[in-house]
Amino acid sequence: MINEENIQEEKNKIMIKFDNVSKTYKGDFMALEEINLDIAEGEFISVVGQSGSGKSTLLKLIYAEEAATVGEVYFDGNPLSVVRKKNLSAHRREIGTVFQDFKLLPRKTVYENVAYALEVSGAPDEEIAENVPQILDIVGLTTKAKKYPHQLSGGEQQKVAIARALVHTPMIIVADEPTGNLDPIASLEIVRLLIRINELGTTVVLASHDKDIVDKANKRVLVLENGRIIADYPQGKYKIS
């Protein structure tokens, strides 16, 4: 009984907390308004909403690319306004980021692109040599390790980006429109990969326009409109009014 309770508590541990957060960009454009949101460890949450509704901004606050104008975002209990100034690089190593445009280095091979994330944070060569092949295996790109990004399909490039995001064994993956540049089949493969990563224990925050992939995930869905949360379905489908 006690054990089970403990496990239950572990599972519900809050990883990200938005406490009355508003974000105003230069000028006075309100991109996010009075956001209160808890994301628990191990959750898979899809953020949906029309273009300009503030999805990317919400994600940027999580990986501390932007700072909240009002309120505070907590990551693992730590206020990001402080982390941003003192410990941003360590914070970034706990978060894997994936984007629509992949952000791969064109002059580096698949292997080097993934290894790069470890190199720049000063990991020893042995660790790199051990981790990179493992991660490439998880995303199914072992045979393409020596290829350059331009020799890969969009879906494969995105898998490389996911591998790079995973190589630090982050607590959470933040994916902003990861399927935005992909055809439906490749998109489905990417979302399957994200689900698998989530099943292995990593929290996933996915921002997407794509109804099919959100439905495919069939997890918690957060709906934004004009910078506000208008719905938060514990498990559901993509619906926008």
Binding site: K103, S121, R164
Partner: protein, 302 residues
């Protein structure tokens, strides 16, 4: 940490090589600046050496009347030695003066002949006075005319080198002025050129920098390559500049030594090789690093 440094260093070298012409032009301008600054440094230093030598040779000769007794002259010597401005006093007796005269005119039979004709020793005993400071000769001269032994003095000879010293002083001053203005000008150009080189590197590495930040590279790691780039530019330029200096001094030295035998630019260069190279590397890296830091402040918001 060591790993970080060697990795970054390799990356910086790769980046400089990849930049090709930009690197070549940046290094050329740095070399030019360092070269010009050090040429002026070598010239002023040599000119100063020269000046020191000439100043050492400057003196006042106090000639005593033919009938002045040696005792009086020696007393005068002690008196002059007590003057504050005086560094040293040397007594040249009539006999020594004659010896010197004969020696310097050994190749002039006419003069020696006329000396014989006069008979006896026509030369005067003298005190050769050297001052601590070339500007003191005026005072020493005045003091001697006021001194107790002034009655016995036939004439005071000085100023022999004064004009030369003044001339050299003004030449050195001019060289220094030109050197400093040119040095400042080129320092500014060097800063601008490294600023620009690093700015372009930052620009061409925009993508890498963005990714580095996203995957959690430390600020140090993001900045280090650009600092290294500046340092490498500095070191390469200073080595090239020192070599260039060597070649051009070797060339110039052969001409200069013909006209001014006591001056050896080359000796100065060789004797101070370590210092020159050290300062150049320091100065070159300084330009590189400061230029790089300026570019980072402006274009690399971390």
């Amino acid at each position: 940490m060591l790993l970080l440094i060697t990795r970054t260093f390799k990356e910086s070298i790769r980046s400089i090589l990849r930049n090709g012409w930009l690197s070549v032009s940046t290094i050329s301008i740095l070399v030019m600046s360092l070269y010009i600054i050090s040429v002026f440094f070598v010239f002023t230093s040599t000119a100063n050496e020269m000046l020191k030598e000439i100043k050492n040779k400057a003196n006042i000769s106090v000639y005593f009347k033919a009938d002045a007794e040696e005792g009086v002259i020696l007393a005068a010597k002690t008196e002059v030695e007590k003057m504050n401005e005086v560094k040293s006093v040397e007594y040249i007796s009539k006999e020594v003066a004659l010896e010197n005269f004969k020696r310097t005119n050994a190749n002039e039979p006419v003069i020696l002949e006329s000396l014989k004709e006069i008979g006896g020793n026509p030369l005067l005993a003298a005190l050769v006075v050297r001052a601590n400071n070339p500007t003191d000769y005026q005072t020493i001269d005045e003091n001697i005319t006021k001194a107790t032994f002034s009655e016995e003095v036939s004439r005071v000879n000085y100023n022999k080198n004064k004009e030369l010293i003044n001339k050299l002083n003004s030449v050195i001053e001019t060289i220094q002025k030109i050197g400093i203005s040119l040095g400042l000008l080129f320092a500014a150009i060097s800063l601008l050129i490294t600023f620009n080189a690093v700015r372009i590197t930052i620009y061409t590495h925009k993508q890498e920098i963005e990714i580095m930040r996203l995957v959690g590279a430390s600020n140090m790691f993001i900045r280090l390559p650009f600092i290294f780039e500046g340092i490498i530019y500095g070191i390469v330029s200073s080595v090239v500049s020192v070599l260039l200096l060597f070649i051009s001094l070797k060339f110039i030295a052969s001409y200069v030594s013909l006209t001014i035998p006591t001056v050896s630019l080359m000796n100065f260069y060789l004797a101070n090789f370590g210092t020159i190279l050290g300062y150049q590397i320091l100065l070159g890296s300084f330009f590189g690093v400061i230029g790089g830091l300026m570019a980072m402040r402006k274009y690399l918001k971390v």
